[in-house]
Amino acid sequence: VLGSKAVDEDAIEELEASLLQADLGPALASEVIGRVRERARKDGLDGEGLRGAVREALRAAFPPAGGPPAVGAGPRVSLVVGVNGGGKTTTVAKLAARERLAGRSVILVAADTFRAAAIDQLATWAGRAGVELVKQREGADPSAVVFDALRAARQRKIDTVLVDTAGRLHTKSNLMAELGKMSRVAAREVPGAPHDVLLVVDATTGQNGLSQAQEFTRAAGITGVVLTKLDGTAKGGVALAIHRQLGVPIRYVGVGEGLDDLLDFDPDAYVDGLVG
């Protein structure tokens, strides 16, 4: 009889537990397991076969990597955004170091004018990365800092502008509006800017990551995700849920606190981590 092979329910349950523990969330985990169970009935899959089927189902969620879209005239402008403490400042420094390594001129923009010592923190990183920092005093309007930086970058024909923003919870409408304003100010100064809006998501984040991505998309349009702290034990499964729901690519992963601890997103390595 077609499609009536016995299914190893214990193995399936174990795989579902792995996906849940990886923060895939119950909806996505049950969808993936459901499809794998169907396949198992048809093809008679055992332990390793089941694991492989789960891996394939997850891997299929990621299309082949497209490079970032080309930029017209003027600097490529990237905004780095996200909730508090996710790793934005550290990530923006890592990105600056990469630009420098790739032989492109780059300036960092200290647009977190709110949090204590945020500008000092980025200034230290700029020094270590050997890149220039545009900043104003604490308490200045972040959009004004962005504006000044872009004006200078255009005049000096700088290749890349990387903007560090203040951490903000997506539930705070005034802070989300501020982000929208920064984006519009950038667009007025450099047509097509911001070319990237990277949402920094901490790999330890649970299902709230989805709500973060939805709100940040509404406020400023997310073009990519950076999944940080993947050097810990968390697997960052919520990033897959974000990608599935919003179609936004995971561009980079943070794997440590040093300047070169940033990797291009590798879907195979990521999926291996989810399946365990």
Partner: protein, 293 residues
């Protein structure tokens, strides 16, 4: 909401006096999804539901409640029992001052901000706290604590470029004794529970200053990893309390249950904003309502 989902499942039970197995299984499945969506750890969910099942099958349906209300009540009571034990807002103090308290946790969870908040809280209850910036790794970490401490009139230990957190913590205690501060709050660097060298360093800080409180500062949006990270920190140091931060967001906060279940350590305070005043004792019943959605 969970109550509405339960109403649907228990419609078939109207008029019955006991809750039957098969309808209960449907209800438990629904509760399981709700708790997983709220980021409660998969193993903790399993343990909780087992207790709920046992209680639900053993009870007569109270005349005043529908079967659905009964099950929701049992779930609510189980969660509240788990979270409510131990006294929120209550800190231990040393019989001979200064009382030393360490703030520990993963990177970015809110330790530095919480150190200032706790200092302000203690100052408000008539104590004299000294903030000690023992994070020598993160760029401008010391400056961050100095600035936020100053903003609320708290004294921050000055150290002349010392690079050893153990020495800094010790100097904090010496300064407290010298100048009459009765509490010493040590802000430590964020670290991974799997970083042996840094976990050992924290152990050495603990041995050097014998804290009465070791507070694990955890982000309310943490997912399944909460059990692992809190468990390892507890195993390594013996935590005395949890501070859950960023509760002003909309994370359901299931990590609270996971951490409590995994370590048995009480949640003492919550952070509800970036300002030093946005800090309050933990309310277990409010947390349960938030988790159940």
């Amino acid at each position: 909401s969970l109550s509405e989902r339960m109403q649907g499942i228990f419609r078939s039970l109207s008029g019955q006096v006991r809750i039957n197995e098969s309808v209960l299984s449907d209800a438990l499945r629904e509760i399981r999804v709700a708790l997983l969506e709220a980021d409660v750890h998969v193993g903790v969910v399993r343990a909780l539901l087992e207790r709920v099942r046992a209680k639900a099958l053993g009870e007569e349906v109270l005349r005043s409640l529908s079967p659905a209300q009964m099950v929701v009540k049992i779930v609510r009571d189980e969660l509240t029992d788990l979270l409510g034990e131990g006294e929120p807002g209550r800190l231990k103090f040393a019989s001979r001052p200064p009382s030393v308290m360490l703030l520990v946790g993963l990177q970015g969870s809110g330790k530095t901000t919480t150190a200032a908040k706790l200092g302000l809280w203690l100052k408000g209850s008539g104590r004299y706290p000294l903030l000690v910036p023992a994070d020598v790794y993160r760029p401008a970490a010391i400056e961050q604590l100095v600035r936020v401490g100053k903003s609320v009139g708290l004294k921050v230990l000055e150290h002349a470029g010392d690079l050893d957190p153990v020495a800094i913590a010790r100097n904090g205690v010496l300064e407290a004794r010298r100048s009459g501060y009765d509490t010493v709050l040590v802000d430590t660097a964020g670290r991974l529970h799997i970083d042996d060298a840094l976990m050992d360093e924290l152990g050495r800080v603990r041995s050097a200053v014998e804290p009465v409180e070791i507070l694990f500062v955890a982000d309310a949006m943490t997912g399944q990893d909460a059990v692992r990270s809190a468990g390892e920190f507890h195993r390594a140091l013996g935590l005395t309390g949890i501070v859950l931060t960023k509760l002003d967001g909309d994370a359901r906060g299931g990590a609270a249950l996971s951490i409590r279940h995994a370590t048995g350590v009480p949640i003492k305070f919550v952070g509800v904003g970036e300002r030093p005043s946005e800090f309050e004792p933990f309310h277990p019943d409010r947390m349960v309502g938030r988790i159940l959605g």
